[in-house]
């Protein structure tokens, strides 16, 4: 069972926070509610996360109204209202593109081929974005691939690296420092601020990695 509360974090920010097991159904409800709230035009930003949604009010005098209303909307929220978009991401695993694949294979006891197959066998969902523009936290990595972050982060992770850490996988939209295990690279641009839809991934989207042969 989940327990939901709504509180005011600051003048314009309201948080709906969900305690308890976050099932796939709860997750869909989060994205569905975010969408419903977006359509009211009362919020200038809505940030869904794993077990919460933060709503940024246009008019802070509406806080009390929305503190109640969001709970009501949550209770009425239907998971099926949300239809995710699916992205197929061609990925070059291992070798120069995935310098940590070897280590991942050693640490997990899987062969490199098994690790690749396992990583590409799952439909991941974008739980939320953060860290860098367009950086989506993708859930959930198969149990056998779960590893702690690298003990020493890399100073420079190349853009479009496909990486894993803990129960998550992600693609680095741009080069940056990073502590995740790099297992591959893709070619599809993830973030371009100069286009109408700057980020390929949005909260709730589904991602599937398609292994490609190195050229």
């Amino acid at each position: 069972m989940t327990c939901v509360q709504c509180y005011q974090l600051s003048e314009q920010a309201l948080v709906l926070s969900i305690d308890g097991l976050i099932t796939q159904e709860v997750r869909q409800k989060i994205f569905a509610l975010a969408q419903t709230a977006y359509n009211t035009n009362d919020f200038f930003d809505i940030v869904p996360a794993n077990s919460s949604i933060t709503f940024y009010l246009n008019d802070f005098t509406r806080a009390d109204y929305w503190l109640e209303q969001l709970i009501t909307l949550w209770e009425k929220s239907e998971p099926e209202v949300f239809t995710p978009k699916t992205h197929l991401i061609d990925t070059f695993y291992g070798g120069e593109y995935g310098p940590d694949l070897n280590e991942v294979s050693e640490l997990t006891g899987l062969s490199q081929k098994q690790a690749i197959e396992l990583h590409a066998s799952v439909d991941y969902q974008v739980g939320f974005l953060g860290f860098l523009p367009g950086f989506g936290y993708l859930e959930s990595l198969p149990e056998q691939l779960k590893l702690p972050r690298k003990s020493t982060p890399r100073a420079h992770v190349p853009a479009l690296s496909v990486a894993i850490a803990e129960s998550l996988t992600a693609i680095y939209p741009s080069s940056s420092p990073g502590g995740w295990h790099l297992i591959g690279r893709c070619e599809q641009p993830l973030f371009n601020p100069h286009t109408d839809s700057p980020s390929l991934l949005a909260p709730g989207d589904v991602v599937r990695f398609i292994p490609k042969e190195h050229r």
């Binding site: 600051s10 930003d45 940030v47 869904p48 794993n50 077990s51 919460s52 940024y56 953060g130 367009g134």
Partner: protein, 311 residues
């Protein structure tokens, strides 16, 4: 155009920030002191969101290559137009070839240079603010560099000199209680409020890190949730971080308090080694302070219009 002769320690193009894209991981950016920008724009008859240059520390120098009505607001960084001293809260006229210099000041950290019509850089994701982390917006996605030439429309009619009383800065900042005080040791909020904190030299536009001989360490983490400028995170090391405009959009450190929106601007002037204290207030106080600030800006605009009409 405005030619950058010396960018100084850190200067960047900013407006009121980038909104509507947090769910994509895009930071707010924008000026650290929105009241200073609004006052500067009001002095020049600009729209509120016109872009300015935010100057950090100073030691910077710019050349007007065309006639320009401009205003400086924010902290007093001992600016001069050629050899004439300039003061925050005033608007002035510069001729083509005039040089504006910002020295520095022990008590102030940031000044704002506004020009009539605003700096004319392209909007990226609906804002002219520079996102210095992600490298887009502003002038070519970066802090200003020597030799950059920033476009703006020239002023056809020189303005009269006119001032707005500058809004004071303080280091006593009002905060709201954070949502995660109950998972932190019981007296941590009280300790946050009773200590005088020193701003660390690791502070920047992403956040002000605060230091004290006795910190507030813990071992709690929370599920990542949306965060924004003003949120005070408490990482396990126990050094509070006041998130500022370039902060990330989500965070997993407990939130011990939030700076009220009306007071966050004071961090624009709190340089490393400066101290600050926090005072707990409720939402009524926070909302009233915000309304009062908005009314002040409205009053500025009306007063300026009346003065212009008298001429």
């Amino acid at each position: 155009m405005l030619k950058v002769i010396k960018p100084g320690v850190f200067s960047s193009i900013q407006d009121l920030g980038r909104h509507g894209h947090r769910h994509l991981g895009v930071s707010q950016a924008g000026v650290l002191d929105p009241i200073a920008l609004k006052a500067g724009n009001a002095l020049l008859g600009n729209i509120e969101t016109a872009a300015c240059i935010e100057i950090t520390v100073g030691l910077s120098e710019f050349e007007f290559t065309q006639p320009c009505n401009f205003a400086i607001t924010g902290g007093n960084l001992n600016a001069k137009l050629n050899s004439k001293a300039l003061y925050p809260g005033w608007r002035y006229h510069a001729k083509a070839g005039d040089i504006i210099k910002f020295a520095s000041h022990p008590e102030f950290l940031r000044a704002y240079l506004c020009v009539e019509h605003g700096f004319d850089v392209l909007k990226v994701m609906n804002s002219r603010s520079t996102d210095c982390q992600a490298k887009f917006g502003g002038f070519e996605g970066n802090a200003l560099q020597k030799g950059d030439v920033i476009p703006f429309s020239e002023s056809l009619v020189p303005c009269s000199e006119l001032a707005i009383k500058p809004t004071d800065y303080t280091n006593v900042v009002r905060v709201l209680k954070g949502p995660h005080c109950d998972i932190l040791p019981e007296d941590y909020l009280a300790q946050l409020l009773s200590k005088t904190w020193t701003v660390s030299d690791l502070s920047n536009r992403m956040g002000a890190r605060l230091e004290h001989p006795t910190l507030l360490p813990h071992q709690k983490s929370i599920d990542s949730q949306g965060v924004h400028p003003g949120v005070i995170q408490l990482p396990p090391t126990g050094t509070p971080i006041v998130l500022l405009n370039d902060c990330q959009t989500t965070g997993g450190y407990p939130i011990i308090a939030s700076v009220i929106q009306a007071d966050l601007r004071h961090f624009s002037q709190l340089a490393p080694t400066k101290t600050c204290r926090f005072e707990l207030v409720d939402f009524d106080v926070a909302n009233t302070a915000l309304k009062k600030q908005e009314q002040e800006i409205t009053r500025f605009k009306i007063a300026i219009q009346q003065l212009e009409n008298k001429k």
